[in-house]
Amino acid sequence: MNLRSIPISAWIGIIGIALALLCAIFAPFIAPFGERDVVGEIWMPAGGDFLLGTDNLGRDLLSRLIYGARTTIFVALTATVLSFALGMILSFTAAVTGGFVDQLFSRFNDLMMAVPTLIFALVVLAVLPQHLWILILVMAVLDSTRVFRIGRAVALDVAVMEFVEAARLRGEGSLWIIFREILPNTLSPLLAEFGLRFAFSILFLSTLSFLGLGIQPPAADWGGMVKDNKDGIIFGISAALVPGAAIATLAISVNLVVDWLMKRTSSLKGGRGDA
């Protein structure tokens, strides 16, 4: 693979993701003001000292956007990694073991997926206390149901191949078969799925924060910033649209890269690229 073969759309996506990551990692050095400092009037227009204006409490919008990248990406990424760890371990175990374990896991997964994710999250978050790690855990568990479904389908395809059978006959244990035989051969479709789940995680976290159930103030996070500034919309103040656009840009960037990855894997396998 060389750099020239990457299409423009994928480059745009990569640049977008890199920008967001830079903001997230170096937030204290880039941001002109502090995350929680009230530095001006309420809802000042963009320009002058404040590049994007100020928010509903007079905090600098750009600084909060940069710090918000940190929270949003950190939580979404942690939740996605956890959901993948959980979903893949369970799905591979189900695919390798088969029989009763497979039935039990799959039916329970069907049950979890019978409730829309957002509704499920609302019901669960209504009971649980508001902590960051609980939020991450809830997101991860709900998302892992989707990972489980994909992971099981992919692993089942690989689990019946000759080299897996050879490993079984050699007397290798389940762990070896999962990590040394199946995982390397399923990595490429799962990588695209990871990107997809990450984009979904960003949107899901933002939605929860927007509804007031995600990350709690005063920590800056993109969905929460939309919620903070939504009352300004009716007066024609666009402060709520800025974090919304940030969410959209990041999600689009991730999707563009995923789109390219998927096309690449499907053409590697000799599939029709256009379907």
Partner: protein
């Protein structure tokens, strides 16, 4: 549907009004060349006879039963699963600083001192009859509130579906027709972007544009009883537009994939090579096979509307189920949360079931699982 060798008895199917070749038997009953012997063979239970006589009706009944069972399992999860989670309603409800006496009082007040299985059964008994108990926060009847708001939500979702379904199918077909050419690429990029936009962002963008800048739409989208039908319609214009945009992209991409899948199949290629006209290929060969996946896509996306409604209602301050639920979650009003959760799940399960059944009706191949 008169293809295939008929080895078993030919049975008229009441539900679909078509004859089914019974060579491959789904029920495990061996098909006998002699009809009399076959019917004598399946004389066992009523259900087995029914499956044999009316395979389609039996399949649909099976799906219905499965959905009802699933709904009960979900109700158990929504109620019982929450009990199993750490934390106590009373303490979370009152906050950390509550005195033990106050916690004890509120537990008794809300009936939390009874064992959970007893509470679940009484809750389920009420829910089946349409009684969801009283709200902890307002002490009002939950069912009464839901009765009003469910209608509003369905009103919103109905119009969103009415606009988005024909639009999505049309655009999907357009994308297939111009596959890999400019219109398809434009549609592809725009729909990819639309999928990535959060619902609330689309909502506020539309408000900013149409309600604030141009002043052609109303915000907030409040509806009340004394409104006329046209007033209601103009009030829900923006929420409906938001929902349409949210669902459209998904639906269109899936429609495109479904139709493309059919169009790239061998029999369409054969028809092309035979020299048939484009219209004839689409009408006689592609369309009947594309109906099933497209119906499936539509039903799945309508199920997706269920979730979209929640956020859109909060954005537009629309008095529907979604807003009721979100409000209840923030004050931890469990009877309301559970009732709303169950109803949303019921709609979701029902639409998925409808997708399943419609797919079976439209595609005879699905009636004979391996």
């Amino acid at each position: 549907m008169e293809s295939g060798p008929i080895t078993g008895p030919v049975l008229t199917d009441g539900a679909a009004g078509e004859t089914l070749p019974r060579s491959a038997d789904p029920s495990g009953v061996p098909a006998k060349p002699n009809p009399a012997a076959a019917t004598g063979d399946v004389g066992g239970t009523f259900w087995r006879r029914f499956v044999f006589r009316r395979p389609l009706a039996a399949l649909i009944l099976q799906r219905l039963g499965l959905s009802v069972g699933l709904l009960f399992a979900v109700s158990l999860m929504i109620f019982g699963g929450i009990e199993a989670l750490p934390g106590d309603f009373a303490t979370t409800y009152l906050g950390q600083s509550a005195t033990p006496q106050a916690v004890e009082n509120i537990r008794k007040d809300l009936g939390l001192d009874r064992p959970w299985s007893e509470r679940y059964l009484s809750w389920l008994g009420g829910a089946v009859k349409g009684d969801f108990g009283t709200s902890w926060a307002s002490k009002n009847s939950v069912s009464e509130q839901i009765g009003k708001r469910l209608g509003n939500s369905l009103f919103l979702a109905f119009f969103a579906a009415l606009i988005s379904v024909p639009l999505a199918v049309g655009l999907g077909m357009l994308a297939v027709q111009f596959r890999n050419r400019l219109p398809d690429k434009i549609i592809n990029v725009i729909s990819l972007a639309a999928i990535s936009l959060p619902e609330f962002f689309i909502g506020y963008l539309l408000i900013m544009l149409f309600a604030v800048q141009y002043g052609v739409a109303t915000f907030p989208a409040t509806v009340y009883d004394s409104m006329t039908f046209t007033e209601r319609l103009s009030a829900i214009a923006l929420p409906v537009a938001t929902l349409v945009l949210v669902v459209l992209a998904h639906m269109m991409r899936m429609t495109r994939a479904a139709i493309l899948n059919v169009m790239s199949s061998a029999y369409v290629e054969t028809a092309e090579l035979k020299g048939l006209g484009t219209f004839r290929i689409i009408a006689r060969h592609a369309a009947p096979n594309a109906v099933a996946p497209v119906i499936n896509v539509i039903a799945l996306n309508l199920a997706y509307l269920v979730v979209g409604v929640v956020v859109v209602e909060v954005v537009f301050v629309y008095p529907g189920m979604g807003q009721y639920m979100v409000d209840a979650v923030t004050v931890r009003d469990m009877p309301v949360v559970q009732a709303c959760g169950l109803i949303f799940a019921a709609f979701y399960i029902f639409l998925n079931m409808a997708a399943d059944i419609l797919a079976i009706l439209a595609n005879p191949r699905l009636r004979h699982p391996r």
